[in-house]
Point group: C2
Chain length 448, copies 2
Amino acid sequence: MADNDISQTNSLPDQHLPVSSRHFELLTLGDELLLGLTANTHLTWIGQQLGRHGVELARNVTATDDAAAIVAELRESWARSDVVITTGGLGPTCDDRTREAVAEVLGQKLVFDPEIERAIAERFVNFGRKMTPNNLKQAYRFEHGDVLPNENGTAPGLWVEQDGKVLVMLPGPPNELQPLFTEQVLPRLARLGLVLEGEAYVQMRTAGVGESALETKLQPIFDRAGDALSVAYCAHPWQVDVRLSSPDGRLSMPELQAVAAECAALLDEDLVCYGHDSLAKVDADLLRAQDRTLAVAESCTGGRLANVFSDVSGVSKFFRGAIVCYCNDAKMQILGVPESLLEQHGAVSDECAVALATSVAETLEADYGLAITGYAGSCGDVKKNPAGTIFVGLHSPQGVWSKKLNYTAARPMVNERAITVALDWLRRELLRAASRASVPPRRANLAG
Amino acid sequence: MADNDISQTNSLPDQHLPVSSRHFELLTLGDELLLGLTANTHLTWIGQQLGRHGVELARNVTATDDAAAIVAELRESWARSDVVITTGGLGPTCDDRTREAVAEVLGQKLVFDPEIERAIAERFVNFGRKMTPNNLKQAYRFEHGDVLPNENGTAPGLWVEQDGKVLVMLPGPPNELQPLFTEQVLPRLARLGLVLEGEAYVQMRTAGVGESALETKLQPIFDRAGDALSVAYCAHPWQVDVRLSSPDGRLSMPELQAVAAECAALLDEDLVCYGHDSLAKVDADLLRAQDRTLAVAESCTGGRLANVFSDVSGVSKFFRGAIVCYCNDAKMQILGVPESLLEQHGAVSDECAVALATSVAETLEADYGLAITGYAGSCGDVKKNPAGTIFVGLHSPQGVWSKKLNYTAARPMVNERAITVALDWLRRELLRAASRASVPPRRANLAG
């Protein structure tokens, strides 16, 4: 922390208040957001991070790069918040005026920091590029404030404690903002008692049970836990997340975990995992633990089923590959699905889903094969298989099956649901395989 | 429009001001946005639509479902705006309080509308479901205001003209909001002179030229056009959009189009299209016009290259399919890439990219084959091919080639750039094929 000679500034926030009572606002800056050229991923990402640490963001304002607008918005946010976070406007170009606007509102001076200059210059040397003079704009910090070093870009984050409040300024690019936030901002906020150090809730990710059925099933457990427990449901296609928390802190984290364990026992296979892992990640972990491999064949989902695994690290260890085939010719040629089968039953049928699942597993020498074939869009065969009809096939070392889905919705939703159903089916089959082999014990996969 | 007995309400906005001087604010409501459970796609989508019709959204506020918060935000936005658009909070559940909050700010009464009730009841009948009583909440409209019928959901949009301003309330689900906005809201706003009826700018989508090189190339044309012309650049990986507009209206749309035509002549193949078509759509149009087909093989992009075509309608007409193969075994088995080639040159090599492009085209009986193989993530062979090294292969009726890309960036960016480069290369090859055959004339593809 820099020396501080402004009276009343740098006072620490009152640490005796619960974090859920804190007022956080997010100011996302940039004409590109208002013109829809860039999605406001910062709101989603920062909102999620704060939520996991016990704070619901109270408000998000997206404003233009105009200096007067920034001053007006920040003045308003600053007056009523405990913490204001800004994103964007820290770059080297002339339309980045955020620093100056913030300095005006805080009544602070901007000072040149040779250490930031050195870090910027070093970055340019490492990339073998010449530093243009406008980059030095990024070497200014607030006279009474800290610098949050940025390992992935030239503009560092800035941190100010003043008037019992905190102001955090973050660079716009997500690959710079996100590590800066988790590695520096969250720990600093936790030290000041403004967010929880650990997770604020226990999340159970479930699949295959509707929200109301889930509530009916779990409510007796929640009733026994008493009114200190707060339960929130968040529904996605074929997947519902249940969050247990105790906003006033009457239940400890171990007590929340005990309630969750009771739910888990009741949910059995319908529980995907604790926490935030995707179904693809859970499937990947199960496949790797059992030393099994997967291949997929898909038509209407057009590569999206294959692509869900691309975010999982070490994908080539368990994922043999995928075949995307829209047309029957391709199904026949590459996967050897018999022409007679396609003629008799059609490409959108139980028979074809089964043939695809087995063929792709055999062709790519995988233990498991997943297949999706259907009409997601508006075409479809109106009588037999209207749009929204999808068949999922699963080939495993135990056999091969298919199931039919009917779901009336917009095309991307139909596809998303089909992919989730397929991944969930594979997960259940892998759980059963593990319990047959007794290794690894199923609960081990839920530790995270 | 309902009868109107409130003095001063229902006055029309002054139609003599240019639309670019209009103040539009967007109020996106919902705790799920602030908790990061749902992305704020409304800002991006509505911002883009307004931008295309001459208005830059001045501000977007995301607030909780709390009634007091909604009243406070709306009061502030309403005071300084010509148009306020709200999204969300129109549903049947008890946390949807937007209607009441808006009525309070406008000093209006909510009245039950039997026509809305009939539409909701009809919807339930069509879906064979029972209407629960809470759905009738959605049958209320403002006493002095209009109803915007919603064909894709139960909650209609609401429209109020009052105090020379317009308030538009839209339901939250994107598949309901978006058609409502384009089919009803934009035409109404245009009639009131609040947005342009047509497009506000001419957009040229270019590929393969950096932003500064593009500027250097086009500036002489822009200089000749004079200071009535406004030029904006928007850079994406391997792709830059150039927007020509005349904010004060001194240049007419035909004059802007003439400037764009001059640029097009100079840009030649580097111009992808006018407007907003994706590279995949442009490739698809070229393939269909020439009655040609495509197949793709990909490793590090894991299905994303295949998936870019899934948004193009009639994809099965030109897209034969895709093979996603992370591991060498799969490359050999399914595509017959020789083991000796993989051993000698590795899977990330010119040789492999060429073999993959040709093999996938031959295996799937396509005219064109595109292949992507590389190290997008952190693995990579440090000496020869560090992370960020990607080879793209293109097989065409004229031959087969590969090119090497080096791009140091986060993994998704590396992949996005590789996909864009591949699609752009295919586009150029298809343009050359068309000009060799002289059908169809290349300019025809730029008409949109």
